[in-house]
Amino acid sequence: MKHLKLLVSILLIALLSMASMVAMAQDDGDEEEPPELGTAEDLEVTEEELEAALEALGEDGFIGVVACTYSTEYHSTVAESAEAYATEKGLNVRTFDSEINVETQISGIENFVSDGAQVIVVCLFDPPSVQSALEEAAEAGVMIVQYAGRDMADLGGVTISVEDADMGYAAGQYAAELINEELEGEAQVAILDYPDIANVVIRADAIRAAIEEIAPDAEIVGNYLGGTADNGLTSMETALIEHPDINVVVSINDAGALGALQALENAGRDDVIIVGIDAEQQAIDLIAEDTMYKGTVDTAPARTGEMTIDAAVKLLAQAEIPQNIAVPVNLITAETLAAEE
């Protein structure tokens, strides 16, 4: 029958989409030996270095900051703090929003390079896809500072790394400790994930690893789609139907966890342990007020922004700096907040 063709086409499309999804989900890049990590002190900028940098930039040169996105507090804070910090020091700086889109980011980088950027500070959410654009930039003499994953160290640029694995592990570890202390080691755990961003997957994996290691009797009922408030809300609403006894939620970011919190409150729950990452202000407020939200991981976005500019200055001044510098990561809980006061 002629409709056979239609059915065959449907099957082919289904197969194609399956194949492409499998291909995308492939683990690219093997685990390497973690290189030596420098610290923030290595980035202290001296007067002479700043002057040299200003001279190198001259009138037309600038530092181009390519942010992953401006739609979450973390990312917008990094970019804005970098911009403000650089402007304060008199350095020409421009910013660009990649909107978590590879094409957009590639164009942004290319435009900056052709416009005369001398340093590009970039957040890499999908390092392999942007590799050639960065290589071209490097060939044009542009120096690179990147502040996301660590995969691109071999480009000769400087990496201010906020280790997704560290963040995830810290969150998972805290949640696991709470499970052991307050729930006698047993719990039904939901992990909020966001697989569209490669580096975020590392976070989710690290959360899982931490929990499996530290609270092995806890049951992880599944990974759910988070990343935004609505996703967290919707996923949690639905998850509760199938697993009404979920009592721990660990999320790759605060935005998703906050949505999940809303869903849990709507369902009348007040006994759930929630841990997020990013240290959004709303999360911090909730932690301080002794709610279900128990902890978040501060990735110091403002400090990260400043550090990228410091690195840029050092590069422009041709000073020596380590290739990989770690941003200090710290866990924020009610106790740590109380200790600060």
Binding site: P195, T238, I241, E242, Q262, Q281
Partner: protein, 331 residues
């Protein structure tokens, strides 16, 4: 389609194709629902059904506006941005500027309607095509929303949160404490939309313009006015959806509407509205929106890991759309 006399080949096979064609994606919905009922314990519970309906509300309400615009032969790609901006206006007004809920909501609705007005004016007076226009306004609105929020989330102080005043739009239940408010609102909006399209002169004009703009003009219909009015309706509905989303999330962010554009347009197309205009049943859009929401819901209940979810929902959509395509095949 009765009345086909004895045909030469497989009339039984044709009859099956006919039924598939008549009901299109609904068949897929039905199969999916049956499968979920059998494969999970919790799909067919009132709790879950209401959850699905609540989750479908924002998309569903905005899809009404998109449906109207598509009926006219245009398309409104700014709906998602309006949800974001009006939500941000609502949040900003209530949390940071101290407005009471009603003025804040009015402001949000007015924002939506004004955007619709702008879209309508640009399309009719400057004669720029609707897709390009609404893409452009979408960008501008996004930018405004981000400027207001500075990339941060708008939220209220715990225990003293102004947004709590509108949380009834999301949490409360009526009719004997059973039906969630968003569900009532969703159905009410669709019923009103249906009445407007079928029983008012405006509705008749929308179909006329979508069907044959020239003939509509020659019938004395003020085509430009209808266009503008429809864009305003779409904008206002998206604005209302933004308010409901703030009530649902309890917060407002500049990107909160972004993920909705695709499901909104998919719901309208899947519901059978012709992109050339002039044809489409609004309740089909509602069923399509609910179907789309049930796909994600079902996958979570089935425990499908989120990496595979994209494939599964893609396959379901392709099959559903193809079934719909059978409708237009020559049989």
């Amino acid at each position: 389609m009765t009345g086909l006399s004895t045909t030469m080949s497989g009339s039984g096979q044709r009859r099956i194709m006919h039924s598939l064609a008549e009901y299109g994606f609904v068949v897929m919905f039905f199969l999916w629902a049956v499968y979920l009922t059998l494969a999970t314990d919790n799909f067919a519970t009132t709790d879950n059904i209401f959850t699905i309906l609540r989750q479908a509300a924002i998309i569903g309400i905005t899809a009404i506006g998109a449906h109207f615009v598509i009926l006219m032969g245009d398309m409104d790609l700014s709906a998602a941005a309006v949800i974001s901006l009006s939500g941000v206006v609502m949040g900003e007004a209530m949390v940071n500027q101290g407005f009471a809920p009603i003025p804040a909501a009015l402001a949000a609705l007015v924002v939506g309607a004004l955007v619709g007005l702008a879209n309508g004016l640009i399309v009719t007076q400057l004669r720029i095509n609707a897709i390009i226009t609404t893409l452009g306004t979408s960008s501008i609105l996004s930018g405004i929303a981000f400027t207001i929020t500075q990339g941060k989330t708008i939220y209220g102080e715990r225990g003293n949160d102004p947004i709590d005043k509108i949380e009834f739009l999301s949490r409360n239940r009526v009719l004997g404490d059973w039906v969630p408010v968003p569900v009532i609102i969703l159905f009410a909006c669709y019923i009103i939309a249906f009445i407007v399209l079928r029983y008012t002169a405006y509705g008749a004009r929308v179909y006329a313009v979508g069907n044959n703009e020239r003939a509509a003009w020659l019938s004395g219909i003020k085509v430009d006015r209808i266009r503008i009015a429809t864009f305003v309706v779409a904008g206002a509905l998206a604005g209302f959806a933004g308010i409901m989303q703030v009530a649902r999330q309890g917060t407002a962010t500049a990107g909160m509407g972004a993920d909705f554009l695709f499901p909104i347009l998919t719901a309208v197309v899947l519901g059978g509205a012709s992109l050339r205009g002039g044809r489409g049943k609004v309740f089909s859009t509602l069923v399509a929106a609910i179907f789309l929401t049930s796909i994600n819901n079902g996958m979570v209940l089935l425990g499908i890991d989120i990496y595979t979810q994209n494939i599964v929902s893609g396959v379901i959509l392709v099959v559903a759309l193809s079934m719909d395509r059978l409708r237009t095949l020559r049989l």
